[in-house]
């Protein structure tokens, strides 16, 4: 995974020098270990800042909507699907983009590492092959990367970018057995009251910081419904009613569009698995329409098409 870095920097430098793109959206090393930062580079000489490791979990498609320039962008499998969603939703044109695809071997969930070291300060992380070496004051551990992957990476079916103009490495083997959605099935088995209790408990620590919304490439409305004041759709407090309203609506806005990239969950400062809301919708869209978001730039998403002769009886 780490070996992609050189190729990414080489490609980035070349396309900036050849003026194929005006800027590159990529990752740079974070100021803290276990973290990376998004970076926009316009100058070929600065392409060396670009960085790649297993902590590049942000979804850079988030920075695309309504941009006018020619853009080079680094994209993992999930990111490339979100770019496809943007193209289908007319947020960006395919011709504007030069997509540097990254065949992804999964991102590491920094929280799993932090909990392994009991919250002690991690000062350095070295990746080599399938191992990660985690160092801090008075400790050093060699961990198997595959044990510390983000949950969404474990069940990921689309590791390779679905659209790309260049590729940073050899394609990786895709997972064969489909996501079992066991977590969603467990919730589906609950009664109405039990579900309500489960979700109320899930979001009880939510501070309404909206980090999940901001990290999500799907949330690009000029004014989000939670920020509207006239009419005020939802209160600004952390009253449980307002918080639940926010979470239900946030999830529904992602219906049929979500690629389960996990950016929302990773962004949450209080560790709420907000994916449990969106995953149910992903499962429904897959079951009902046999559709997974962002696999094609031609296919219309299921929720913006209809048939006058729809056989479902609720449309009568």
């Amino acid at each position: 995974m780490i070996e992609y870095g050189d190729t990414i920097r080489k490609i980035a430098k070349k396309i900036l020098e050849e003026k194929k793109v005006d800027l590159i959206i990529g990752y740079k090393k974070g100021t803290l270990p276990l973290m990376t930062e998004p970076v926009l580079i316009r100058d070929a000489e600065k392409a060396d800042q670009l960085h790649w490791d297993s902590f590049c979990n942000m979804n850079l498609a988030n920075y695309l909507p309504k941009r006018e320039e020619k853009i080079g962008i680094i994209a993992k499998g999930c990111d490339s699907r979100n770019i496809a969603v943007h193209i289908v939703e007319n947020q960006i044109k395919r011709e504007q983009l030069y997509i540097v695809g990254v065949p992804c071997k999964g991102m590491i969930d920094r929280r799993k590492i932090i909990s392994f070291v009991d919250g002690k300060e991690v000062r350095e992380v070295i990746e080599s092959g399938g191992d990660i070496i985690v160092k801090g004051a008075g400790f050093e551990h060699t961990l198997k990367k595959s044990d510390y992957l983000q949950d969404n990476c474990i069940t990921c079916m689309h590791k390779n970018p679905v659209i790309h103009d260049a590729i940073a490495g050899d394609l990786v083997e895709e997972r064969k057995d489909p996501d079992s959605y066991d977590d969603v099935k467990e919730i589906e088995g609950m009664g109405s009251e039990e579900k309500w209790k489960f979700f109320s408990n899930l979001i009880k620590n939510c501070t309404r910081c909206y980090a999940c919304r901001n990290a999500c490439p799907l949330c690009y409305c000029p004014t989000c419904f939670v920020d509207e004041s006239d009419p005020q759709w939802v209160g600004k407090s952390i009253d449980p009613t307002d918080t639940m309203t926010f979470h239900i609506l946030r999830a529904y806005h992602c219906a049929g569009r979500c690629t389960d990239c996990g950016a929302c969950q990773q962004a949450c400062p209080v560790d709420i698995n907000v994916r449990l809301f969106t995953r149910k919708l992903n499962k429904d869209v897959l079951d009902l329409y046999n559709h997974e978001a962002g696999l094609s730039v031609e296919e219309r998403p299921p929720l913006d098409t209809f048939r006058p002769d729809d056989y479902d009886k609720f449309i009568r």
Partner: protein, 49 residues
């Protein structure tokens, strides 16, 4: 997420179908009346700490 299924209704009504709208609305009201007052997503006064 545990919303009461009896309170959730979907329909497809064109702006020209006034009769159908009235019909569906009446039906929804009757259904909701049967389940009685709502308990979830009701905002009370703010908690005083």
């Amino acid at each position: 997420v545990g919303l009461d299924p009896e309170r959730l209704h979907f329909s497809w009504i064109s702006s020209s179908e006034a009769g159908k709208f009235a019909e569906v609305a009446t039906e929804v009201i009757e259904e909701v009346r049967k389940v009685g007052p709502i308990a979830k997503l009701v905002k009370g006064s703010a908690e005083v700490v």
